[in-house]
């Protein structure tokens, strides 16, 4: 998606947010394209919610400019901005019925009664809550309240929808369902969603683009596969899933040859070695590793030897821990394709392909 030629839906330009005793967001530059499902991902305290609140108008940036579709909205009140928010706590009005909750925004904008009725009913149908129209929020389950909050925001046809950890309070099964549901709705209504979450699986399931935030900065931004396969920093690598990290010395940059402490040669994609000199940190994801019997002869270019210290069978896969020479314990996730199971104490070989290695700063 090319956001350089089109005007981005949301644009943050050098945005910093300082609170009394700490800086929540530091010099943030960000452009989010039209109709994108965008996820702001990071641990608690990384500044993702503050960023969202600044876009919504609930916090003013200390410095910097926020634009919505090219228009400078910095300093505008929330009610002046063409965005709507789904709050983490849902923030449904407890004294109003479901219908009046959803109608709230339309009524404030002076939409006439018949039109309010039509649009609210249409929206409640979209989120499958028509039978609950006369109830109060407290009489609904968590998942239903969540959908009311979504309907209450979407009924206003915002150009950007902000979602602050909207699935955090739901149980796992419902969360999975709502992830698919949210993605479906986003594609149906075709507006920009900005979704704040600390759950990397949730972000990867739904988002077109993910920005991983850490200590007030965006560490890595891109499509889910891109940032998962090449996280570039140790923090992103760790946050987006498990990985085996090792320090290597560059032997030949042209061919991508590197050496471990004990002298074992490994090979990595030379294009990933740019700038890295002397010692670099490389990583490889557990599911990229394959585990072989010690006498296996047909092996990939990168091979380590070791001893199985732990094997746990979890159905779809088996998780091994292998104590490898010069590295320590490495994790391997093996698909249960054959019935060859390695037991703790077995000597094994672990191998992988050069392109599955990534280099972190």
């Amino acid at each position: 998606m090319d956001t350089r030629t089109d005007i981005p839906a949301v644009e943050l330009d050098g945005v910093t947010k300082e609170f009394a005793d700490f800086t929540a967001v530091y010099e943030l530059n960000l452009a989010i394209g039209e109709n994108t499902f965008f996820a702001l991902l990071g641990p608690s305290g990384c500044g993702k919610t503050t960023t969202l609140r600044m876009i919504g108008g609930f916090e003013d940036p200390t410095t910097g400019v926020i634009r919505l579709h090219g228009e400078d909205v910095t300093g505008q009140k929330p009610y002046q901005r063409p965005v709507n928010t789904v709050f983490q706590s849902y923030a449904l009005f407890p004294h109003l019925t479901i219908f009046e909750n959803v109608a709230f925004g339309l009524r404030r904008r002076g939409v006439e009664d018949a039109e309010v009725k039509r649009r609210v009913n249409e929206m409640l149908e979209l989120v499958q809550l028509t039978p609950f129209i006369k109830r109060k929020p407290k009489q609904l389950s968590g998942g239903q309240q969540q959908r009311v909050a979504l309907a209450r925001a979407l009924v206003n046809h915002p150009r950007v929808l902000l979602l602050d950890e909207p699935l955090g309070a739901l149980d796992l099964k419902l969360r999975k369902e709502m992830q698919i549901e949210l993605k479906r709705i986003q594609q149906e209504v075709g507006i920009t969603f900005i979704h704040v979450t600390h759950d990397q699986e949730e972000a990867m399931t739904m988002a077109d683009v993910i920005a991983v935030m850490h200590q007030g900065r965006i560490e890595r931004m891109g499509e889910p596969t891109e940032i998962y396969e090449d996280p570039r920093t140790a923090f992103v690598a760790g946050f987006l899933g498990a990985s085996n990290m090792m320090s290597v010395t560059v032997v030949d940059r042209g061919s991508g040859a590197v050496a471990l402490n004990g002298g074992t040669r490994l090979h990595i994609d030379p294009s990933k070695l740019d700038g890295g000199d002397g010692t670099v940190r490389v990583g490889v994801r557990p599911e990229k590793l394959r585990i072989y019997p010690i006498d296996e002869v047909s092996l990939p270019p990168n091979v380590l030897q070791g001893t199985v210290t732990d094997a746990s069978f979890i159905g779809v896969s088996t998780h091994y821990l292998v104590e490898a020479d010069h590295i320590g314990e490495i994790a391997v996730v093996a698909q249960n394709l054959d019935d060859h199971h390695h037991r703790p104490g077995d000597p094994v070989k672990v191998g992988w392909l050069p392109q599955h290695c990534f280099v972190v700063a």
Partner: protein, 266 residues
């Protein structure tokens, strides 16, 4: 076995407490039917509904009752508005003098009424303000504010701030947010503050007595009358107020009960 042996203790205790609480009230009610004309209404002379048929017989009673009701309404209304705003500020904002305000708010509740009343009188004299109706109102607003703040603040604490942000997000400016979301949410607290203030003002004697000038409130009339014999019409009015309050309370309970039942009916 244990149950039957000790089964009568708790009910007996309960009845003793109830009798202790209500005996004075029943005496007041009973003596509104006492067949006397003048003097001290303390010895039972026989049953009559004469006084109930003629409650306006003593003009001072009616006038002082009216004065008290107006003062109670005014002071409770003003104190509730001010108290609600103060409570909102105290819960929502961090500002200079916030903790000092908290301390000062407790002072009128902690200070003995005699001290508060006499100090106020001293202040009015110093400022050369003639005491009367409005000085009573001012004095009652003074102590009502404290109770209003405490009552409303209890309601605001634990109020999800995101509700107001949600209203702002849905195109409500500050005033609309207050009117459509904040006020409806804290309304039970606000109404409670008003009723509490009304009762406290209506009931007050000590502070009023210092600052009333020539105006006579209902408690002051009763106090004065008690020295030469309280007319049975006072009992009539007191009984009427008691019944009215009790009925209002039961209606309120019924409404709340029905509302709770409706909420539970999912």
């Amino acid at each position: 076995m244990r149950r039957s042996r000790s089964g009568w203790v708790l009910p007996a205790y309960m009845w003793l407490v109830l009798i202790y609480l209500f005996l004075p009230v029943f005496v007041v009610i009973a003596f509104s039917f006492n067949d006397i004309n003048r003097g001290f209404n303390v010895v039972w002379q026989g049953f009559t509904i004469r006084h109930w048929l003629d409650p306006f017989r003593v003009p001072d009673i009616v006038e002082s009752l009216g004065t008290s009701l107006v003062i109670a309404f005014l002071s409770a209304a003003v104190a509730t508005v001010l108290g609600t705003l103060i409570a909102l500020a105290l819960v929502r904002y961090r500002f200079r003098g916030r903790s000092t305000t908290n301390v000062f708010l407790f002072l009128p509740m902690a200070t003995p009424e005699v001290v508060l009343g006499s100090s106020l009188l001293a202040l009015f004299i110093t400022l050369r303000v003639a005491t009367g109706f409005w000085t009573i109102v001012i004095a009652h607003i003074l102590f009502n504010i404290s109770y209003a703040v405490v009552t409303v603040r209890a309601r605001i604490t634990g109020f999800d701030r995101h509700l107001e942000e949600a209203a702002m997000d849905l195109y409500s400016d500050e005033w609309n947010t207050f009117r459509r979301v904040t006020l409806p949410m804290i309304l039970p607290g606000v109404l409670a503050a008003f009723m509490l203030g009304f009762a406290l003002s209506f009931d007050d004697f000590i502070i009023t007595n210092f600052n009333s000038g020539t105006v006579q409130t209902w408690p002051m009339y009763v106090w004065g009358a008690s020295r030469r014999g309280i007319p049975p019409q006072v009992n009539v009015w007191a009984t009427a107020i008691f019944i009215l309050t009790t009925v209002a309370m039961f209606v309120n309970l019924r409404i709340q009960g029905r509302r709770a039942a409706r909420s539970a009916d999912v």
